[in-house]
């Protein structure tokens, strides 16, 4: 066999030899977003605070950066502007939310009782707890008829500084009023999210893509709602929760 023929035959083997190539782009871009989170400061680690990394599609402008910092009472918030970053729409899922427990057991597990929305349509949530994030992360999952998660309310206590990083994409991002002086941020569009534990390490298995999300802080409790509902309805739910505080 000639050299040229052998080279040609080898080139023709390529499609038979290699396994099908997976798409890497979403995992890489989410990984970059998580890896870019700054190292937590010592005081933050000592306080065993949670750092929630909300990697979202946002438009960066100084007002938002300051407002977000003000909202959560923290510094160290980074907001970046990136365009044309497409992400697939992924419905909410309960998988990374932890162990399913009974509502009455939550207080014993995480040291606080979750606030439950007082809205007629939201009943019988699945209750999930992760104790490796912050002092505990509680998620109430309201399923729709298809048994998929229709709305997820996540709550956790923030004892110290909270670091949040938002990355830009095609989603919209703005500050909204929930009630009185209580304000939150509405992130409209699919974006990845991951949480940090009290040791400052990313909980890789908490990383996932989420849809429209409202996030706010009320007292020492940070809450977020992800769902496919319009903003007005989500704010209504948030208001029913905040009315239970203090």
């Amino acid at each position: 066999m000639t050299e040229d023929r052998l080279e040609l035959e080898l080139s023709n083997l390529s499609e038979r030899v290699f396994p099908e190539s997976p798409s890497l782009v979403d995992g890489v871009m989410a990984g970059i977003a998580i890896a870019e989170h700054p190292e937590p400061r010592r005081s933050w680690v000592a306080a065993a605070a949670v750092a929630a990394v909300i990697v979202a599609a946002v438009l960066a402008f100084p007002a938002s950066r300051e407002a977000l910092a003000r909202l959560l009472g923290i510094g160290g918030v980074t907001i970046e502007h990136v365009t044309d970053y497409d992400l697939p729409a992924v419905p909410p899922t309960a998988e990374p939310l932890g162990e399913e427990v009974e509502l009455e057991d939550v207080l014993g597990l995480v040291g606080f009782a979750p606030r439950v929305p007082e809205v007629a349509q939201l009943t019988n949530p699945g209750v999930f707890v992760r104790t490796d994030i912050a002092d505990g992360l509680v998620s109430l999952v309201y399923r729709n008829e298809g048994e998929t998660a229709g709305l997820i309310l996540t709550q956790f206590r923030t004892a110290g500084e909270v670091a949040i990083k938002q990355l830009a994409g095609n989603a919209d991002f703005r500050e909204v009023t929930i009630a009185g002086g209580l304000r939150g941020f509405w992130i409209e569009g699919t974006h990845p999210i991951a949480f940090f534990g009290p040791d400052g390490e990313v909980r890789q298995d908490s990383a996932r893509l989420v849809g429209d999300t409202l996030v706010w802080q009320d007292g020492g409790l940070t809450s977020r709602i992800e769902s496919a509902l319009p903003l007005a309805e989500v704010v209504e739910i948030a208001r029913s929760i905040s009315s239970q505080s203090g």
Partner: protein
């Protein structure tokens, strides 16, 4: 793939300044190649996927250290190959790796119809390739299956270019010899 180096250079320059959209374009351009390079080292699709993904993330974080005027592709592939090698070093993982001689079982499994008409020559070549020493097999796969340049092959294999030349020459000689023997039989 058409890859004028200037396009890569422009995308890499934009990514260096935080343009994630530019970097996602680079990922799309080279995700298949990176995965295949990692697979050549790992021989496990799952490990290769992880190694390639880690390689892209590591490359992004190291963009600022890239030598001015350097090409992105060989630089990336070297990082990916290193990530894959790090994974192979774990003895527990090594047990799961499969030999290139058994690539049909790991990779694109041909349909029964396709298998029935598979070219004998290809089967023999695949078997001969599988019998090459690991170092030579890697060089042949990089040069002809992935169509990497000589310097890219050197970067991926972690050997000097001179070694690429000598191993390639030896390997091609072995392959020709083996196939000639089969033809004589």
């Amino acid at each position: 793939m058409d890859r004028p180096p200037e396009i890569d250079r422009e995308l890499a320059a934009r990514a260096r300044h935080g343009d994630l959209a530019a970097y996602s374009q680079l990922v799309r351009r080279y995700e298949q190649l990176a995965f295949r390079v990692a697979w050549l080292v790992c021989r496990s699709p799952a490990e290769a996927e992880d190694a390639a993904q880690e390689g892209f993330i590591k490359a992004y974080r190291a963009l600022g250290q890239m030598r001015e005027g350097a090409e992105f592709r060989p630089w990336l592939l070297q990082i990916v190959a290193n990530q894959a090698r790090n994974r192979v070093r774990s003895a527990s993982r090594r047990a799961r790796y499969e030999s290139l001689a058994a690539v049909d079982a790991v990779g694109a499994v041909p349909s029964p119809e396709a298998a029935a008409v598979a070219h004998d020559q290809q089967q023999r070549l695949l078997a001969a390739l599988g019998r090459l020493p690991e170092g030579e097999r890697m060089i042949v796969a990089c040069r002809y299956l992935l169509e990497l340049t000589e310097s890219e092959t050197a970067a991926v294999a972690g050997v000097p270019r001179g070694t690429v030349k000598s191993r390639l020459s030896r390997a091609m000689g072995r392959l020709r010899e083996e196939l000639a023997e089969v033809e004589r039989d």
